[in-house]
């Protein structure tokens, strides 16, 4: 698909083909997942289906990005100079 706008629309239409968690499970696991990601641990392996859901659900993806950004910023602020 050459047209990037149309390709993006197609991606949104078809969504992830892999198994994914629901929005409810995503919310339940989000803090655990983010803490693992920030720690450099295997978040995707620990919460199967989470990464696929975050690719398919813009709202959950936005909240994941925000929580990651917030915790990362606050974690950095604890680090010694």
């Amino acid at each position: 698909m050459k047209d990037p706008r149309r390709a993006a629309a197609l991606r949104r239409l078809l969504g992830p083909a892999e198994p994914e968690v629901t929005c409810e499970v995503c919310f339940e696991e989000l803090d655990f997942y983010v803490d693992l990601e920030i720690a450099g641990a295997d978040a995707d392996g620990s919460v199967p289906g989470m990464a696929a859901h975050l690719r398919g659900c813009p709202a959950c993806s936005e909240e994941h990005a925000s929580l990651t950004a917030l915790v990362t910023e606050l974690t950095r602020s604890y680090l010694p100079e």
Binding site: R5, A7, G15, F32, V34, E62, S66, L70
Partner: protein, 229 residues
């Protein structure tokens, strides 16, 4: 989900300044204080609200370009979201299982409440397009003679696949995936929940992918993996 053994101290310690044990002790201290009585609990609630307000303001500022809210209105929204998050955290305190830091767990409620409020505010005066006339991003292949032949075939198949969905699936898919209506906004307008709508979206996507696969058009799914969040 059992957090034990998932992230050992060696991997966690590198970016968690207080360390695993300190993080657990901090979480326990929050729980103890919030379950106490009298002044200890009141002070803990004040601290918790301050923590939630910090997260709500963080989220409101990240999203401020999506609304026309000025500083005072934006802060009012953040305070309201922090208030709602506080109630949610206190009501669900017993569901905190210690898999994450308590603060990360609490922050997610503030992020969620703020994000939903900001999406609603951004769309409060906008009509939610449900009708199929908004398939502008997927024009009739016949109108685009310069397109690659494969694209034409895929687009035609997608349009047929969408037409084969149930009316509800079609409305939800077009609103969310084509018109990019936020799922919470659509849920409000349709009187349902994010989870229920996502289930409908998931079913519609699966049918659409099946429709394409039945016609030997598996390639678009491969292209999908290139998407970034």
């Amino acid at each position: 989900m059992n957090p034990a053994g998932v992230a050992g101290p060696a991997t966690v310690a590198c970016r968690r300044p207080p360390g695993e044990d300190a993080a657990r002790a901090e979480s326990d201290a929050w729980l103890t204080a919030l379950r106490a009585r009298g002044e200890e609990r009141e002070l803990a609630i004040v601290r918790l609200h301050a923590l939630l307000l910090r997260a709500a303001r963080f989220e409101a500022n990240r999203r401020r370009a999506t609304t026309r809210l000025g500083g005072a209105e934006l802060d009012h929204l953040a305070v309201q979201a922090a208030d709602d998050a506080l109630l949610a955290v206190l009501a669900r305190l017993d569901t905190f299982r210690g898999a994450s830091r308590f603060t990360t767990w609490a922050y997610k409620f503030a992020i969620y409440q703020t994000a939903v409020a900001m999406r609603r505010r951004a769309w409060q005066d906008r009509e939610v397009p449900l009708a199929p006339e908004s398939w502008a991003l997927l024009p009739d292949p016949g109108e685009q003679p310069q397109q690659h032949a494969e694209d034409v075939e895929v687009l035609a198949a997608v349009r047929r696949g969408i037409a084969a969905l149930t009316p509800h699936q079609r409305d939800v898919l077009v609103a969310l995936a084509v018109n990019e209506v936020p799922i919470d906004v659509l849920a409000d307008r349709l009187g349902t929940t994010r989870g229920a709508l996502y289930k409908t979206l998931h079913d519609a996507r699966r049918k659409l992918r099946g429709h394409l696969a039945a016609q030997g058009l598996g390639a678009p799914a491969t292209t999908l993996t290139e998407e970034t969040r």
